[in-house]
């Protein structure tokens, strides 16, 4: 598909997202905060309304029409996710509350796999959600918390990793795509290092699932997790994929209804996967509606989305380079549509405030990756992040607003 055809195809998408067709402060909204959360297509919103208008019932435990219908719709999303991730078994798909919940679940159920003196590895660029739980686990188990340093370019120091990751490493957890910089990390190489060392490999795919097709088998990782709300889906829902044989042997996390086989005052036995890890009433509405997000991504095609986003990124990057004193972090080829930058002598929050007044929504600050900014010698950045529905005009409005803001602040 040439670029014009692609632009044409993507242009139609915006109309499917009601939140994008509005004005703020009397100006058309230019939503460039997609790495924080994406907007939702009308079909997702409709699916939620339909669920509550027609199917709402508590699932699994019921024996009536609505309960059966909602259970089937709920389980259909699990199957769709198994297909999307190329999982071997549908029961490897566990629904959680979000990426943060997924990592916390993992760092808890892996507790007994870690012994004093073992090493738990992350990278210096992790989101706090994939950093602090491992840091705390290490603290609790008297294990060594170690990290792969980030080079000033925004890339992993793989040479360091090669030297330092040995069979003392028990867990290696890292993001595929950096939320702060948009860099696409060489996960294959790190997975192979970690696997050679015999460690469990945990991939934080929060920033990857909206841009890349995922194949957990081909990746050869042990766990893969993400949040629905960053993939055009509802809030309050996360996905954790794990290898069946691991999820079967690891202990349960939350206790309660549904994850139980038999409860008595003298003891309790647990249910099979996936129920073992899904205690209590789940976010039924979100799970069912998320199936629409999955279809949306499949129909549009992630390869086209990514190509389009990179096109926007390129345009924005070129314009940004013209602004005096601008620094672009991780100005690399292999990225998703994230532009993370600062302008000399100006606080990122000030730029954010003035962009906002012009209808342009970006994020400013540390983006929950404080160690990364410490390494880069600053405290944060302005981050403009593009999704499939953004347009060339969005980039133009953003750049115009940015120039105006910078002029006002100088």
């Amino acid at each position: 598909m040439d670029n014009d055809t692609l632009q044409h195809k993507m242009r139609e998408l915006k109309t499917q997202f009601p939140a994008l067709n509005q004005t703020v402060y009397g100006r058309p909204l230019v939503y460039l905060d997609n790495a924080a959360t994406t907007q939702k297509p009308q079909r997702v919103i409709d699916s939620i309304s339909e669920y509550y208008s027609k199917w709402n019932a508590n699932i699994h435990r019921g024996a009536h029409y609505l309960a059966n219908a909602s259970t089937e719709k709920f389980e259909a999303t699990r199957s769709a996710l198994a297909e999307m991730l190329h999982a071997n078994f549908r029961e490897e798909i566990i629904f959680t509350q979000g990426s943060t919940d997924s990592v916390n679940m993992l760092s808890t159920i892996l507790e007994n796999e870690v012994e004093e003196g073992d090493e738990i590895w992350v990278t210096e660029m992790e989101h706090h959600a994939n950093f602090v739980p491992w840091q705390m686990l290490a603290l609790k188990k008297k294990a060594h918390f170690r990290y792969i340093p980030m080079l000033p370019s925004g890339e992993w120091d793989l040479a360091y990793a090669k030297n330092e990751i040995t069979d003392r490493a028990k867990i290696v957890a890292f993001n595929w795509v950096s939320n702060a910089l948009g860099t696409v990390n060489p996960v294959d190489e790190l997975i192979s290092l970690a696997k050679t060392a015999g460690a469990y490999v945990v991939i934080d795919g929060a920033q990857a699932v909206a841009h890349f097709d995922i194949n957990v088998q081909a990746l050869n990782c042990d766990f893969f997790l993400f949040s629905a709300h960053k993939m055009y889906g509802p809030t309050g829902l996360g996905v954790l994929w794990g290898r069946k044989e691991l999820l079967e042997k690891l202990p349960p996390y939350r206790f309660g209804g549904e994850m139980i086989r038999k409860v008595s005052v003298t003891g309790t036995t647990f249910n099979d996967l996936p129920f073992k890890y899904e205690a209590g009433t789940p976010n039924i509405e979100a799970v069912i509606a998320f199936n629409e997000s999955i279809s949306f991504c499949k129909e549009v095609g992630r390869a086209d989305m990514h190509k389009h986003e990179l096109h926007l990124l390129k345009l924005a990057t070129e314009e940004l380079r013209k602004i005096e004193g601008s620094t672009i972090y991780a100005d690399l080829e292999n990225k998703v549509g994230v532009l993370s930058f600062n302008v000399e002598g100006i606080h990122s929050a000030d730029i954010g405030t003035l962009l906002d007044q012009q209808g342009v929504a970006v994020r400013t600050g540390h983006h929950c990756t404080q160690p990364l900014w410490e390494k880069l010698g600053t405290t944060g950045s302005v981050r403009a992040s593009f999704a499939c529905y953004n347009t060339v005009e969005d980039v133009e409005l953003f750049i115009a607003a940015l120039n105006k803001s910078v002029n006002m602040l100088r």
Partner: protein, 142 residues
């Protein structure tokens, strides 16, 4: 043969226009089924099911076919179990594994075989296939 047995059930049920008569028939089947003795209803024969219990017993017969016997503590489930058993009973492991089981859908009892686990039927069919797999392996190694 399995296909033929399914067709017969479908025809039988096509006869009933009302849900009530359909269920009356299932209840009748449940009452008629020989089932298992209390002694035979062992813990290890239990098929995991949420609401009603289902016991399933299988044995490989001399002639190379599988004999199934089953029971349930709920009468409707018992009737459904009787239908399932009637379809698979006295078939070879190979035929069981090759079968396309569709009659539950066709007689309008689809939810009974769904993932919903509101009764043990889906699990029961899974268990039948498991038995067939084991028996087939057994036959091959002989």
């Amino acid at each position: 043969m399995i296909e033929q047995k399914q067709q017969e059930i479908i025809e039988e049920f096509a006869f009933f226009e009302e849900w009530m008569h359909k269920y009356e028939h299932i209840i009748e089947l449940g009452k008629e089924m020989k089932g298992l003795t209390d002694d035979e209803k062992k813990e290890e024969l239990l098929v995991a099911g949420c609401q009603s219990k289902v016991w399933l017993k299988a044995s490989l017969q001399e002639n190379g076919t599988v004999n199934f016997e089953a029971d349930s503590d709920a009468i409707i489930t018992r009737g459904l179990v009787a239908l399932v058993v009637s379809v698979f009973d006295n078939e070879t492991p190979q035929d069981i594994l090759n079968a396309n089981i569709h009659f539950m859908n066709d007689i309008g009892l689809v939810s009974n075989l769904s993932q919903t686990r509101s009764n043990g039927l889906a699990a029961m069919v899974k268990q039948i296939l498991l038995y067939a797999t084991v028996f087939q392996a057994q036959q091959k190694s002989n």
